[in-house]
């Protein structure tokens, strides 16, 4: 009698040992993502809230768009954050990847000058500075358009991104459109090499270095400038106005944006009050989710999270000076989600 009792206890223990990991696994899934530092504050906040509500933990590490896409194409993560869609280096993944726009931000020019004056820049001047043609803050070209402020007699130290970055991509795309010199010498690149100046990792790195070094200049997402209390350059848009980057001016820029065949990264303001270097940021996932031994639940969780991010999640961006997706873009994003499959079956159908 007792023997049978003990036996049943042992059996149940063994069963417990066998099934426990499965139970645990089923309980909380941890999604991992890597990539752009551009939307990093937004994602950190949004995913924090998502975990609170849905108990799904999401790890996102800001390593730069390039690193993120690389990790995704090697199929070791669930999703990648990126600010660019098409780029040399990842052609084989073009059709396997699906890009979902998550929010809109702005690339701003930050600098370290005493008293944080608001310096005006034309695209040509930015190009000249980053190409090393203008090396001093009291350069006549800069002075010419900044008559209202006193520019210090300081050399300019340029700070660039060290890693492959969507921010750089957007920034160079903008400069290529407006500066002949930039187009010829650099073009649209996700990394700037062979140019003078210092380099730093990620948006925080650039912000940190600029914060530290007086006379330096760099480019980051708007929120990094605001959080670190760094002055932002007023940049001339197509209408010839110098626009201060802010949620308002970004929204103005997005207002005139109409989607063509595919989404582009850079959003050029048509509105005369629009900030000229606004852009989308994306989350890239693999079209077919049954890779690397992933189970259905995981894929479902991913799509569920993404669906939330382009819907309810949008609210968390506004607080961080990002701009939410307009409704038409939200629709585009949803359509993109529909294409995600698990063993050929669209996943979005599983989610209410």
């Amino acid at each position: 009698m007792i023997g049978r009792y003990i036996k049943s206890i042992i059996y149940s223990f063994v069963l417990f040992l066998i099934f426990y990991p499965c139970l645990c696994f089923a309980k909380d899934i941890e999604l991992t993502g890597k990539g752009a530092t551009f939307p990093l504050p937004f994602y950190l906040k949004a995913f924090g809230h998502y975990q609170k509500h849905y108990k799904t933990k999401i790890n996102y590490v800001g390593v730069g768009s390039g690193e993120g896409l690389k990790a995704l194409s090697s199929k070791t993560i669930d999703f990648a954050g990126t600010d660019f869609i098409r780029v040399d280096g990842f052609p084989e993944n073009i059709n396997e990847l699906i890009y979902i726009p998550t929010c809109i931000g702005a690339v701003v020019v930050i600098y370290n000058l005493t008293d944080n004056p608001n310096v005006k820049f034309t695209p040509e001047i930015i190009s000249d500075i980053f190409l090393g043609k203008i090396t001093r803050w009291d350069d006549p070209k800069l002075r010419c358009i900044n008559k209202d402020i006193k520019l210090p007699e300081l050399p300019i130290t340029v700070v660039r991104r060290l890693d492959r970055s969507g921010t750089t991509y957007v920034f160079s795309e903008f400069l290529s459109r407006h500066s002949e010199m930039w187009r010829k010498n650099v073009g649209i690149k996700n990394i700037l090499t062979g140019l003078p100046g210092l380099e730093a990792k990620g948006n925080p790195g650039v912000a940190g270095l600029v914060k530290q070094k007086s006379g330096s200049i760099g480019y980051v997402e708007l929120v990094y400038a605001l959080a670190n209390r760094l002055p932002t350059g007023h940049i001339m848009n197509r209408s010839g106005r110098f626009i201060e980057p802010s949620v308002v001016s970004i929204k103005k820029a997005v207002e005139g944006y109409t989607q063509e065949k595919e989404l582009t990264t850079l959003i050029e303001a048509i509105n005369p009050d629009g900030y000229p270097i606004s852009c989308f940021t994306f989350i890239a996932v693999l079209r077919e989710q049954s890779y690397y031994g992933r189970d259905l639940q995981r894929a479902v969780e991913l799509v569920k999270m993404l669906k939330w991010l382009i819907g309810d999640g949008q609210q968390y961006g506004e607080a961080l000076h990002y701009v939410s997706l307009p409704s038409n873009i939200q629709e585009t994003a949803r359509k993109s989600l529909e294409q995600i499959t698990y063993k050929g079956n669209p996943l979005l159908l599983h989610i209410k």
């Binding site: 990792k201 925080p204 790195g205 914060k211 990094y224």
Partner: protein, 676 residues
């Protein structure tokens, strides 16, 4: 060790200066590089230090920002504020990590690495703490967050700041040590540079000395040589080492000196041979005339002796004394004739060695005991054509001279060998001809011959001896010359002399005289081959005349009285070309004989000999062009001249111009030898 004199002066100078410039450049470049390196190192140290300190400060700064941000979060209840402070935290962490990795790159010291490792672990630790605190705060568990902040976050921050300070302090210390080391090294290299400069300076001086010496020395030699040459001294010794320009100059000078020397020698030889030639002619001429005079003296003496024989013993004795003196004089003359090569050679194939050994036997007895004669004869010596008698005379003269040069005694060495003589300036020194020779060498250990008289000793009558004639070597010279050879003399005052006699293996007997000359000289002795009839009752006179005429080449027939004379004449009346007729004779006197001869031949020349009374001759040369009267005692010379004259005029009279053939004289002996 390579001989730099093999390189040309240009190359030498080029290489020398090249090396100098290269060395100087090398030193300068080395020094500059070293200084550059040292300065770079020093500034590197300073820069590294500055950068490390700057990064350490950045870390400090970043930590400060973090602290500030966390502080702000804790004090704020607005989520908007939290978000921004979160971003500040991100930025600060990026700064922290960036600075730390930069320091890590610069750090090479163990202690520094330890500090960096601690900073790294602390960084991760602090990140975790920040997340914990912010999460606690976001979840509104403010008290717990604050507690966490105070009890673990603050100390960590403090720890980091302390480490940063440590890093800076250590950095300062380490770099000062490194700076000191670098400075020490810098000084050291400065010192090395100084030594190097000194070395290159010494090296330059050394090179310069070698170069100048290598150029100067041969030039000085050349100057010396040129001076010597200009003073006429051709004995130049030069050591020519390289084939550079001065070397080639020296070589050229040496060649020049040799050429000059040779030319001088040739000139000397030419002069010598010409001198000897002239002397020879002179001596020959004198000897000939002398000889004739001697024969006249002798002939007359004999006549006197004949005439006086019957009554005067005294006259006889005096005549004998004259005859002896004449004999001695004719000995001299004979030697002179040998020197002037007027002695005919009787050539035969002979081995010189044999002649020497034969003479040697005789000499051994003759030569004093204090003198030793050594023979060293080459057994392979070929036979040559020589006049053995004359060769003996050569050897004898040489040996006699050798003995006379050694009054205290010594050794005479005689040796023979064969030698190939190559004369390369055969055009000038006509007395030497290339070819095979046999060489007879006579060496003595005597007084030697002074250089100043070496070219004189072969002249006739040159002597340094009280009783010497000075003819010994001139005879040797004449004989050797006639054999086509030459003489080489090696002698040094006080050490002895060697005479080398070169006799050509091939016949090269020099025809010293031209044919005409020979005929001329022979003509004086061999005057004709005509047949002469001598009719003379005095036996002595008859023989004297006969002897003379036969030596002069004529054929003579004698008759001792007139009757016999007619008899002989009639027998050979067509062959007889001339008749010598004594006036007073028994049986039939000269007048009758003459008449008889004229009866048979009108054209025949007749010489009437008459004593004290020529009026006894009834005929006169005025009537008969073919007769003359010669009064006794007459000189044989005059008689022979008259004979020739008569013969020649009778030819002219009888046969017209002289026929070439009659002028060819067939008989050889040409020396009128009184003694023989």
């Amino acid at each position: 060790m390579i001989n730099i004199r093999n390189l040309s002066v240009g190359t030498r100078l080029g290489v020398g200066f090249g090396v100098l410039v290269a060395t100087i450049l090398f030193v300068v470049v080395m020094a500059l590089m070293n200084m550059q390196f040292s300065i770079k190192r020093l500034s590197n140290i300073i820069e590294n230090n500055n950068r490390k300190v700057a990064y350490a400060n950045t870390i400090d700064h970043a930590v400060h920002i973090m602290n500030d941000a966390v502080n702000n979060i804790l004090q704020s209840r607005s989520s908007q504020q939290w978000d921004l402070e979160n971003i500040r935290l991100l930025t600060a962490q990026a700064m922290y990590d960036n600075a730390l990795s930069e320091i890590e790159k610069l750090e090479q010291n163990e202690k520094g690495e330890k500090i960096i490792y601690s900073l790294k672990t602390l960084s991760a630790y602090i990140k975790q703490q920040i997340t914990d605190i912010t999460i606690l705060h976001f979840e509104k568990r403010y008290a717990l967050a604050l507690k966490e902040y105070q009890h673990s976050y603050r100390p960590s921050i403090k720890h980091i700041q302390q480490l940063c300070q440590e890093l800076v302090a250590y950095q300062d210390e380490a770099s000062s040590v490194e700076y000191f080391n670098a400075l020490k090294k810098y000084k050291m290299t400065l010192y090395v540079f100084c030594v190097l400069a000194l070395c290159s300076f010494i090296f330059s001086i050394f090179t310069a000395i070698i170069l100048t010496r290598s150029i100067k020395k041969p030039l000085e030699q050349a100057v010396d040589a040129a001076k010597k040459l200009s003073e006429g001294d051709y004995h130049i010794t030069m050591d020519i080492k390289g084939n550079d320009e001065p070397g080639r100059l020296l070589m050229a000078m040496k060649e020049l000196a040799e050429k000059l020397k040779k030319a001088k020698e040739t000139e000397q030889q030419l002069y010598e041979s010409q001198k000897m030639e002239t002397l020879g002619r002179l001596a020959g001429g004198i000897a000939h005339d002398f000889n004739n005079m001697l024969s006249i003296i002798l002939g007359n003496t004999q006549l006197i002796k004949m005439n006086a024989s019957s009554f005067d013993e005294k006259t006889h004795k005096r005549c004998n004394a004259i005859e002896n003196a004449v004999a001695r004089a004719s000995g001299f003359v004979k030697q002179l004739l040998v020197f002037s090569k007027k002695q005919p050679l009787v050539l035969e194939k002979a081995n010189i060695n044999k002649a020497i050994t034969e003479l040697y036997k005789l000499l051994q007895k003759m030569i004093g005991e204090d003198i030793e004669i050594k023979l060293n004869l080459d057994p392979m010596l070929p036979e040559v054509n020589i006049d053995v008698t004359q060769f003996n005379q050569v050897l004898l003269n040489l040996i006699v001279n050798a003995r006379e040069s050694m009054p205290e005694g010594g050794t005479i060495t005689i040796w023979t060998h064969k030698e190939e003589v190559v004369v390369n300036n055969g055009n000038l020194g006509a007395n030497r001809i290339s070819g095979k020779y046999i060489v007879l060498s006579v060496k003595d250990t005597g007084i030697g011959i002074d250089r100043a008289i070496q070219d004189k000793i072969f002249e006739p009558f040159f002597t340094t001896k009280q009783n010497g004639t000075g003819l010994g070597l001139s005879v040797v010279y004449g004989i050797v010359k006639q054999h086509g050879g030459f003489i080489k003399l090696e002698s040094e005052k006080g050490k002895g002399s060697v005479f080398h006699i070169y006799i050509p293996c091939v016949d090269r007997i020099i025809e010293a005289k031209s044919k005409e000359e020979q005929q001329e000289s022979q003509g004086k002795n061999v005057l004709g081959t005509e047949n002469i009839l001598i009719i003379e009752d005095d036996e002595e006179i008859r023989n004297l005349i006969r002897e003379m005429l036969s030596t002069q080449g004529y054929n003579t027939i004698v008759a001792n009285d007139g009757l016999r004379g007619i008899e002989v004449f009639l027998k050979n009346k067509d062959d007889i070309d001339l008749v010598i007729l004594d006036c007073i004779m028994p049986k039939m006197n000269g007048n009758k004989v003459f008449a008889e001869i004229r009866m048979h031949r009108q054209d025949i020349p007749v010489i009437f000999l008459t004593g004290n009374n020529p009026e006894k001759i009834r005929y006169s040369p005025d009537d008969d062009k073919n007769m003359i009267i010669v009064q006794k005692p007459c000189s044989l010379e005059m008689l022979s001249t008259k004979i020739r004259e008569m013969l020649d005029s009778s030819y002219a009279f009888k046969k017209g111009p002289l026929d070439e053939n009659t002028k060819i004289y067939k008989k050889g002996p040409s020396v009128f030898n009184l003694r023989a």
